[in-house]
Every structure is written in structure tokens, then in C-alpha cells.
């Protein structure tokens, strides 16, 4: 099986995806991801020059509603409880801008 992806590719994809890949994991990612990409190469058997891409399949467009507030049950206490750090109804995070 040819390797479609290099070590550098794997590190680059991981960076884009906000994941850390350990050196031990890189090899298995190369094998697994290459096998999947190899399999999907068969799509190139089909000529698709004149075909439009499908983004969604039920042809709904511009679903509108009246701009009025609705009663919504989401419980702010639970929302806050799911946060590791919160203060006075705010989410608390590390400093973003130094």
C-alpha cells in the first residue's frame, strides 16, 4: 500500500485540527489515513466536469421565521455548571490577548 501522506502532512493536519499527535502515533496515522484516501481515489474513475456539487439534498432554501422571541427552556444554571471555570454568569478562560 503506498503512503499518500508524509509525517509532515500528519503534523500539519493535526495542527489545523487542534490535536496533538505523539511521535509514536504518527506511523499509524500514516497507514490508516493513507488507506482511506487510497480507497476514495476511485472517485476519480468518474468524470464530473459538468456536474454540480450537492450541498444538501432536500432543496430547502431560506427557511424563515417571524423575528419574535420564543420561550426557550435551556437552563442557564446547567449551562454554567458544564463549564469548568465560570464567574458571575460568565465563562472564564485563559487570557487570549497578551
Amino acid at each position: 500500500m503506498s503512503e499518500v501522506l508524509s509525517r509532515e502532512d500528519i503534523y500539519k493536519i493535526a495542527k489545523l485540527a487542534n490535536l496533538t499527535i505523539s511521535p509514536e502515533e504518527v506511523d499509524s496515522y500514516i497507514i490508516e489515513l493513507s488507506a482511506i484516501l487510497e480507497y476514495v481515489q476511485q472517485l476519480n474513475d468518474l468524470s464530473t466536469d459538468k456536474i454540480k456539487p450537492t450541498n444538501q439534498i432536500t432543496n430547502l432554501s431560506n427557511v424563515w421565521r417571524n423575528d419574535v422571541p420564543i420561550e426557550y427552556e435551556a437552563d442557564s444554571k446547567t449551562l454554567l455548571a458544564n463549564m469548568l471555570h465560570s464567574e458571575r454568569n460568565y465563562l472564564k478562560v485563559n487570557r487570549v490577548i497578551e
Partner: protein
């Protein structure tokens, strides 16, 4: 209890001859007795028992109710946000997540009097075809505990196969209801895309995710789908309610069913025992005077899995982008915000979620978008058109649901491609957004074999009417 239809149970409850509390307590006894199958993540006992008592009181006070699922217990896959227990998606990432609101599907069932008794196991984030990817436990097949129940809705399929509850709900993005239904010998229904609201269901691949049901008979399937389907202001992809499923069925316009066997679903990859069972099923259809049967070649379907494994991961990578561990989810903060993101995502996601995020990120990345993502979207168009053409001539398309009966635990975990291939005959329906049902037809060496029946988009009522026609005949 489940040899009876839901309708019959509801009638007895309303007549006062069957206590809801007893029914719900029975469910917990059955869950306990079936513990070794590892199909339940959490019970929602306190909430369920309270709801049961309230409903029993209504009956005792002589109140009349039109609720069609009055007192009926059910189990939900643990990727539905619900009260009464944590909602985990079987992932370490959400192991401590408390839902701040409920999925519309759950709320609709509760509004009709149904009672959620437990949350069932799945492949974490619904990524998988065997329920082995759960971060918590591996669910066992009810017919052979050394085999998988299928997935990703494996726990929900087992719950109905073991008759713990009359129905359970699941999600289906590439076969996650139909494939475990086939492996566990129960009915599994995947509706037209957009027929059931996905508000409050943990998103996987948004252009393909659907919500459906497991049952032991068509009437129950149709009744539950009637309750769950319909437009929802909280999900702008839901279809107009004129397409919703109705129970009982409206009288059929036609007395003849035009059915085509998908020839290319019967190639060498199909297990001989599955093929034999399927051929017996086809011969029964052939001899039925109300069925016009022919064969069809849908060449584009051989590309369905490749399309699915580009578009699916792309949408997964996008949907899982929101998991940063700050507002909810696994959190192991570091000194900087960047390191916190990395730490939370790297430690919170399991191997399969990470694999799919990596693939999806790659096919969407600069320089590869056209070659992979856009290419797959175009081939999706070819598949959709192929189905549209087929449904001009035929009402229903049939084939085996899965190429094999349930496989052994561990058999396909070494190489992810092996596992992905078990969805090869179910993903096409998700790409086209069409309804598809698994009906159990046979046993091969005591393992269930299923057939799938597909219909055109929004023809759900016709599909269920045909399934009902076949029930008892097959």
C-alpha cells in the same frame, strides 16, 4: 409484554388494567437481568418512576387522555440530549455533560406520554458500525455474545431485540440504525432526511444525520415515527409537516407495488448465507400477485462509500470543531489558551473521532478541497440522480441490508477500512436522503439476516404501508 403492540398496551393502561409504574419497574428488572450485554450507559430511574406515578395517578383520578404513547417506556441512544441522566455520546469528551435542554424528539415522545427509562450505548459520537468504539464498554449481540450488535446505535438495537422496551430511538448517518437492526433481528427505520427534528441531538454529519426508531412490529414503528416527525422551528432543515408519517396509514392509492432488486448489491462481497436468505425473500415477492418485481443496476452505488468517507469526516471535523472543553466537555486546562484547546481535544476525543477529524480536516484543507471534498460532492449528485431515475419506474428498491451477519468482536477493529466496509450498502440512502427500512427476514446459523427497502424522498408513508403489507408474509 412486547408481543403486544404499543397501541394495545396503551389501551390497557388507560383502562386501568396495566400500571405504568409496574411497566417501568419491569423494564429495570429486564435491564438488570440483561446487564452482561453492556447496552445501557445510564438509567434515568428517578425521573422515569416519577413520571410513571404521575400517569398512574391521572388514570386513578379518572382523567381521560388522548396521548398515544401513554405510559410506554423507551430507551434513547445516548447522543440525544435528555434530562434524568448525563448525555455522553459514549465519549470521554462528554462523560460529565448535563443537558441544559432536551432533544425535540424526546420532548415530542414525552408529550405523548412516553417515558425514557435509560440511555443506550453507541460508538462514541456515533462513529462506528459495531459499538466497539464506545469509550465506556462493548455491547454484545443478543444472539451470540462473542459478536457485535452492529452500530453505531448498537445499544438501542439490543434493547428492542431483548424486548426490554417496545421501542428505542437512534440516529442514522450511514447505516447506524439499519445495520444494527439487521444484526439484532429487529425493525430499524431511517426516515427521509429532515423528517424528524435533530434539535438536541449531537451532530455528526449534518447533511446526512437522521433520527429513527427500532421496534418489533411495523405498527409500533409507524406510530412512534408519527409522533417524532414533523417540522420544528428549532431545526431549519426539517421538512414541511405535510410529509410527516401518519399512523394509522391512510388508504393506499395503488394496490400494486413496483419493486426492483438492486443487482449490484448481490456481488461477491455478499456472504453466501445472506444471499441465500435474500433469494428466498425475493422468490416470495415474485409469487405475490400484488408485487411487480424486476432487477435494476445502479452503477453509481459502488462509489457511495468513497463519497461517504470524504463528506462524512469533513462534516464531522466541522461539527467537532466546537469541542474546545471550555463551555462544556472534557477539560484539563493548561497555561495558555492554545495549549488548553490542544489538551482538551487530544485527551477528550477517542481514536476514531480523531481519525475522522484528521481525514475531514485534510479533505477540506487548502489544495485538497477540490480534489476530495468537491469531487465527492459531485459524485454525490450522480448517486442522487441515479436514485431519482430509478424511482421514476419503481416504488421500492431492495437488497440485503448488510453483506454479512453480525461479525465477531475484534474482527474488524485492526484496520478502520474493514469496519467502514460494513456500511457499504447502507450509506447510499443517507447520501440521497431517502427513507430506508431494515426488516428481519431470516436466521443464518442462528444469526439474524435483514433486508432493506428504500423508497423515494418523502415517500415514508408508502414505504411503511408496503412494509406492513409484507409483515407476516416474509
Amino acid at each position: 409484554m412486547n408481543s403486544q403492540t404499543i397501541e394495545a398496551l396503551v389501551t390497557q393502561i388507560k383502562a386501568g388494567s396495566l400500571s405504568v409504574l409496574k411497566l417501568v419497574e419491569d423494564c429495570y428488572d429486564k435491564i438488570e437481568a440483561a446487564q452482561s450485554f453492556d447496552f445501557i450507559i445510564a438509567e434515568t430511574k428517578q425521573r422515569a418512576l416519577e413520571r410513571a406515578k404521575t400517569l398512574d395517578q391521572e388514570i386513578a383520578q379518572g382523567k381521560r387522555s388522548n396521548k398515544r404513547l401513554f405510559g410506554i417506556p423507551f430507551i434513547a441512544k445516548d447522543n440525544f440530549l435528555s434530562y434524568g441522566a448525563k448525555t455522553t455520546a459514549a465519549s470521554k469528551m462528554l462523560a460529565n455533560f448535563e443537558a441544559p435542554y432536551q432533544a425535540t424528539a424526546i420532548t415530542k415522545l414525552e408529550d405523548e406520554g412516553a417515558i425514557c427509562v435509560a440511555k443506550s450505548n453507541l460508538d462514541a459520537f456515533a462513529h462506528g458500525s459495531s459499538t466497539e468504539n464506545s469509550d465506556f464498554m462493548i455491547t454484545k449481540n443478543p444472539y451470540d455474545v462473542t459478536r457485535v450488535p452492529g452500530g453505531s446505535s448498537g445499544g438501542s438495537a439490543v434493547a428492542v431485540a431483548l424486548q426490554v422496551v417496545p421501542f428505542s430511538i437512534g440516529t442514522d448517518t450511514g447505516g447506524s440504525i439499519r445495520q444494527p437492526a439487521s444484526f439484532c433481528g429487529v425493525i430499524g427505520y431511517k426516515p427521509t432526511y429532515g423528517l424528524v427534528s435533530r434539535s438536541g441531538v449531537i451532530a455528526m454529519s449534518s447533511s446526512m444525520d437522521t433520527i429513527g426508531v427500532f421496534t418489533n412490529n411495523i405498527d409500533d414503528c409507524q406510530l412512534v415515527m408519527d409522533v417524532m416527525s414533523g417540522q420544528d422551528p428549532l431545526d431549519s432543515t426539517t421538512l414541511d409537516s405535510k410529509h410527516k408519517i401518519v399512523y394509522p396509514s391512510l388508504p393506499s392509492k395503488s394496490s400494486q407495488f413496483k419493486v426492483a432488486v438492486i443487482k449490484n448489491y448481490l456481488d461477491d462481497a455478499v456472504d453466501p448465507k445472506v444471499r441465500a436468505s435474500f433469494n428466498v425473500f425475493v422468490s416470495k415477492l415474485k409469487s405475490d400477485p400484488n408485487i411487480v418485481l424486476c432487477e435494476i443496476d445502479l452503477q453509481s452505488l459502488k462509489y457511495a462509500l468513497a463519497v461517504y468517507y470524504v463528506l462524512g469526516p469533513a462534516e464531522i471535523a466541522s461539527n467537532l470543531g466546537r469541542y474546545d472543553g471550555l463551555r462544556f466537555g472534557y477539560s484539563n486546562p493548561s497555561d495558555s489558551i492554545e495549549e488548553t484547546y490542544l489538551s482538551n481535544r487530544t485527551n477528550g476525543f477517542g481514536a476514531e473521532a480523531k481519525r475522522r477529524i484528521m481525514i475531514g480536516t485534510y479533505v477540506l484543507s487548502s489544495g485538497y478541497y477540490d480534489a476530495y471534498y468537491k469531487k465527492a460532492q459531485k459524485v454525490r449528485t450522480i448517486i442522487v440522480d441515479n436514485f431519482k431515475q430509478a424511482f421514476l419506474k419503481h416504488d421500492f428498491l431492495i437488497g440485503p441490508t448488510v453483506p454479512t451477519p453480525a461479525f465477531k468482536i475484534g474482527q474488524k477493529t485492526k484496520h478502520s477500512m474493514d469496519m467502514y466496509l460494513s456500511d457499504i450498502m447502507t450509506v447510499a440512502a443517507n447520501l440521497a436522503g431517502i427513507p430506508d427500512i431494515n426488516l428481519p427476514i431470516d436466521r443464518a446459523n442462528n444469526l439474524p439476516v435483514g433486508v432493506q427497502i428504500m423508497a423515494n424522498q418523502t415517500q415514508d408513508n408508502q414505504l411503511l404501508a408496503f412494509s406492513k403489507y409484507l409483515e407476516g408474509k416474509i
